[in-house]
Amino acid sequence: MSDGTATSQPGISPAGLSRGESWGEWFDRQSRTFFIAPAVTLVLLFAIFPTFYTIVFAISHVRFSATGLKFRTVWFENFAAQFTGNQQVHFLGRFTSMSTAGWVFSLVTAGALLWWLYRAFVSGATWVGLAGRVISAAMAMFIALLFAATLLSGNQWGTLLNTLFYVVVGCSIQFVIGLMLAFLCSQPVIGKNFFRVLFFIPLMITPLGVGYAFKMILDVTKGPFQPFWKLVGLGNWAWSTDAWAARWFVILGDSWQWIPFIFIVLLAALENVPKDHVEAAQVDGASSFQIFREITWPQILPVAATVMLIRMIEAFKIVDLPNIMTAGGPGIATESMTLHSLFLWRANDMGDSAAVAYLLLILTVVVCSSFFNYVVLKRLRKARA
């Protein structure tokens, strides 16, 4: 009878065994489920449920009443409004005729994407892989056409390209500067610990604080740099009334805050590069640039790719800085998709707000997974090879 305990069933009290022992075993076996249940429940409640519930808003027209929210299903009307309806100019920008530069850019992009798809097809990619590439290529072509029809044709662009501007340009600048600072601080320089702390501080500050600080610092008539602006002949120049200047200044504030994040992660990666590899290369007479390109970079690439991916996902959600520094202005020049959605929500236009939020989710997923699959993984494989 000594093996009777091992064969007992959950919830059943076999003969010769106490009820407590069998429940205990059952709990033991189910412990994994019980331990993760709170976490799963929380995720379902606070992340997945709202995500699906937002769909209800996105396909509805919502009104407030004394008895709660009243939903009228409009299916894809709110999404259509962003592309062809009253929100089109706000979301996509304004289209007139396409310039020659716009046509050239579009055709070159189309050719490159077709070539990329053809290469994937002939190289024996799976159907799933091909489908993913087609989605990525379609998104890339759409963005390229939008870019060509707006900026390259002398027209204003909307919140979608504003968001991509913050993501692509902002993250690139932040990555390059963050990497440079990390590289400097990984060298045996005097006071490097002081600089490490100094460079890290901006990340601790709330984005709202950064927004207000930059708004004050950059005020040309009352700010602390007013004498400087006046000295260089810009005493009457208001960056906040110039679309491009305002966008760049938003990126400046964003970079000041987020470079430390890239800096600190890359610094940790750089410090983990085995010193004997570097010393061996030095003995072999390799230059500093060669050492960085051939030894350091391949070793920090996985971390660099990950940090860039996290930063990009975060950048897609930029809202605090343009809201505080310019309220999305001048006009809608600095309005990101998150801010667009926020403003619609603030106007109680829940349907359009949810639609923009969903479009942002789609854009983020496609761009970030494309970046990961076709840029990061490709380089990782290459580095490993």
Partner: protein
Amino acid sequence: MDFRKLAVAAASAVALCGWSGVAGAGQYDGITINILTRPGPVIAGAVSQHGKEFEKLTGAKIIVNEVPYAEIFPKVQQDWSTGTNSIDVAVFAAGWGVELAAAGLLENLDPYIAKDGKIDLQDIAPYFREFAQKIGGHTMVIQVDGDFQMVYYRKDILEKNNLQPPKTWDDYLAIAKAINGQDMSGDGKPGYGSCIFKKRNAQSYFAVQTIASTIVQTQGTAQGFQFENATMKPLVNNAGWKKAFELYKETSKYGPPEELNMDIGDTRALFKSGRCGLLIEWGDPGPLQLEDDAKVIKNKLYATNVGSKEVLDRKTGKLVPVSKESAPNAIDGINYAPFSAFGGWGGAVNAKSDPKVKQAAYDFLSFMSQKEQSNVDVTLGWTGFNPYRLSQLKSTDLWVKSGMDEGLAKNYMGAINDALNNPNMSSDLKIPGAQQYTAVVLDTELARYMAGEITVDEALKNIEAGWEKITRDFGRDEQIKQMALAVGPAK
């Protein structure tokens, strides 16, 4: 201690000693009233201060929740209609209440008023009493403020330049141009001809309506200037509004370089430091110039109403000169239509709050509105409360005591009385969706035009389309009915 601080202390003492309204000492012990309004010190500061006084009088605890201006209405609407009900009183624009009342979210305050011997409604100017406070014939909002937008000018600067105060918007631009760049603050720094808060998602859309109303509305308040009230067809895509937009943009030539990114707090700081020659503002600059940090402009900032010599002919869609036919209410060849921008801050009570809380909330609003408190509040610039009671506007005594010289007090009261008594006074929207029509659609397109993203014609076309969409959403017939209730039968 200067007079104004003394006045506040005295008013508080009088309030504490003499409160004998519906509530009594300790009557509301244990009751908490949650109030939502804009961030202080303007409005929220005064509400908080009176909250402390009320707490001493009645035991009710007043908690003031502050949110950015653009978030007040959606927060209240979401809180009340989703059953959250964390807010008992909203202090907001009188015109916003109608949408909440239509959804059954506002408490009818008539029964409370009937038992209240201290509010003295007859002392509230008829426009604010009958239009702003009432919805569908019932008082649902208690005014604590009265709003009109006017033009302010630096009397000393105009006199120095031998210029007369502006009567038309063309005068405004000519004066702004003439004085722009002059030292108006005495510190050698160049001043600005005109200062208007033009930041998006703030309150920029009011000033352009102050200009447009004088060109588009000619036949009296009931005519309106945003819509053809009988059909709710937007009246925005026409030569009148186009001229208003262009005039508004033209003022930027004589304003601070970052004017497009300035909200009302920024421009107030600027004119208090003496850097502005002309402003479009509410009643606040009158008492604000008496504050300690505005010594440069004390008793120098005068108010006036500005009009137009050209008005819109609605049949032809063109601008025509003012005549007896085109603008029967014109004065000396100028059509005035003083704009009750925002309509004044007022308090409304959540219909779903606990009955005892509702009574306490009403008593608090009544307390704030009573003459003992209100007649002091309106003389203090920082409160954000402007005159709305007849007792505040019948003599200069109140204002002279607050520190104004007799000339300024007469001018200030005169400008507000002229606005209030003008039969062509123009009204802010008081229909469902009021906030969306102006604070969202008009504000966004105006901002895009000001930034040079779109032309004036595109902006007006977009506004027309946006307004039509909102009207369709709420129902055209319902909106026509609400408009008639608000300003009277369409003419």
